[in-house]
Point group: C2
Chain length 250, copies 2
DNA sequence: CGTCCCCTTGAGCAGAATCAAGCCTAGTGG
DNA sequence: CCACTAGGCTTGATTCTGCTCAAGGGGACG
């Protein structure tokens, strides 16, 4: 079944299209950005549930997500897994596999996805041009800060604040991408996947979501989130969500 | 009271000294590394408990920790705080304040510390030289991966595994720096700080540590950790700790 | 029509938090 | 030199958040 639809489909979003790929159309014109275009190898696609990067793999991979959602996760031998970061259209994926030479984390498509891949074996041939490296560093810093924010929500908050933070920060990111409305967005994650993001069980996630609905703060229906009371949501999510910059696309 | 002593004092460790500062002695000779030396502004020091970077500050700061421990944390209005990363001798501190223009996290000295500071206002003048940016990216990638590992331990494991992972991964990092023995190391954190790392209460941390001692896995005494059964420790810490590279010092 | 998977809901349990008291050490002042 | 204080560690008793187990429901697909 294709899960890909709605928000992640539109061409009228702020996300660079596949034809007008991140590599090709970039607000900041620069000779460096022109060079990097030649390292774009192919457009790819994968289906909902496909593993895109194998945890533990030593093969460098690098691509930008064009459409759809993916998760970056770490799974443990005991069967548990923790989602470390949600990958949205425009995000750079697999950078660690190039800089560390090893995939510490797995990446799996949540919906059907399309992406533009780079020639990861020649990473050093293009990544260290000043303009490129500045952008990569900024991307890394923001991703790292988002992971740390998540750690804060998981470690220092109760389940309700934790979930509220997840929703609020996703909403903010999606708004920046033109993939959310002022009061709601499509959330293609299963309850299980949401639970893996928050370090909770699916059962408990469900209960907390119901509580949030009963308090008229957020309503979830058919994988659509409706934010009924943004003010209250931000207040419950004791971890404030960081603004993500508009120009953070490589 | 000075908390600075023992392991973090020695000059015979693998950590670059203040005279032989990270900027000045680096295994990989490179013209780029020579350039960056001129951006070193001063040696600084701070005392146990001092806040080195204010959460929310917009002033860019950049330095390498020379001796002592510090914590990078996020505190919430409700009084909770989460330690996001432990900063050890040789670590680069404050990079986010340069790349994002804002301190999303606070940094506080755990012990007395000394550091070498850069001219953060001229960050872009030296950070994007190919050799420098490669190293910065690698550092960022490893820090980010360590934070994600922590998130995994906090989110997907119980208290015992969580603490075991903290101890095991710290041991590995310190071994790489020559600041730990094969079977133990000095841990200058208070129980409260350990709790803030793990997202637990001090009371519970204490109970879990006692349990680990009773099982003859690790013993803590006077802020010294003794690893009685490394094998069991790694097993209990279901999240495997990543090796940190030897050359990750800027 | 039946199967499968995921969501939903309830009942009971347990891991971790809270509350509260005693203790030990270091620092302070008489 | 010793009494006093303060802060952090230790421990027990109790509470509660979130987990486990288990059963019922609904949509998609063969």
């Amino acid at each position: 079944m294709s899960v890909m639809q709605g928000a992640t489909r539109g061409v009228d979003s702020k996300i660079p299209g596949c034809r007008n790929c991140p590599l090709h159309n970039n607000a900041v014109a620069s000779p460096d950005l022109a060079i990097i275009e030649s390292f774009k190898v192919a457009h790819g696609r994968a289906w909902s549930g496909d593993v895109i990067i194998d945890q533990g793999s030593r093969r460098p991979r690098l691509f930008t997500l064009f459409s759809g959602w993916a998760i970056k996760y770490k799974s443990l031998e005991c069967g548990e897994r923790q989602v470390v970061h949600l990958l949205l259209p425009g995000d750079l994926v697999g950078l660690e596999t190039c800089t560390m030479g090893m995939a510490e984390f797995g990446v799996q498509a949540v919906t059907d996805v399309t992406f533009c891949s780079f020639d990861a074996d020649r990473f050093s041939d293009f990544a260290f041009a000043p303009d490129i490296s500045r952008r990569i560093m900024k991307l890394q810093a923001y991703e790292s800060a988002m992971i740390a924010e998540r750690l804060t929500a998981v470690g220092a908050c109760d389940a309700k604040s934790n979930l509220a933070h997840l929703i609020a920060s996703l909403h903010l990111r999606l708004l920046g991408l033109g993939l959310a409305q002022e009061r709601g967005f499509r959330l293609p994650l299963s309850i299980q996947q949401i639970a893996d993001c928050c370090g909770l069980t699916p059962v408990h996630v469900h209960r907390v979501l119901r509580a949030l609905r009963e308090e008229n703060i957020v309503a979830i229906d058919c994988r659509k989130i409706e934010i009924l009371d943004p003010e209250a949501l931000r207040h419950i999510a004791r971890v404030a969500s960081m603004e993500t910059p508009q120009d953070a696309i490589l």
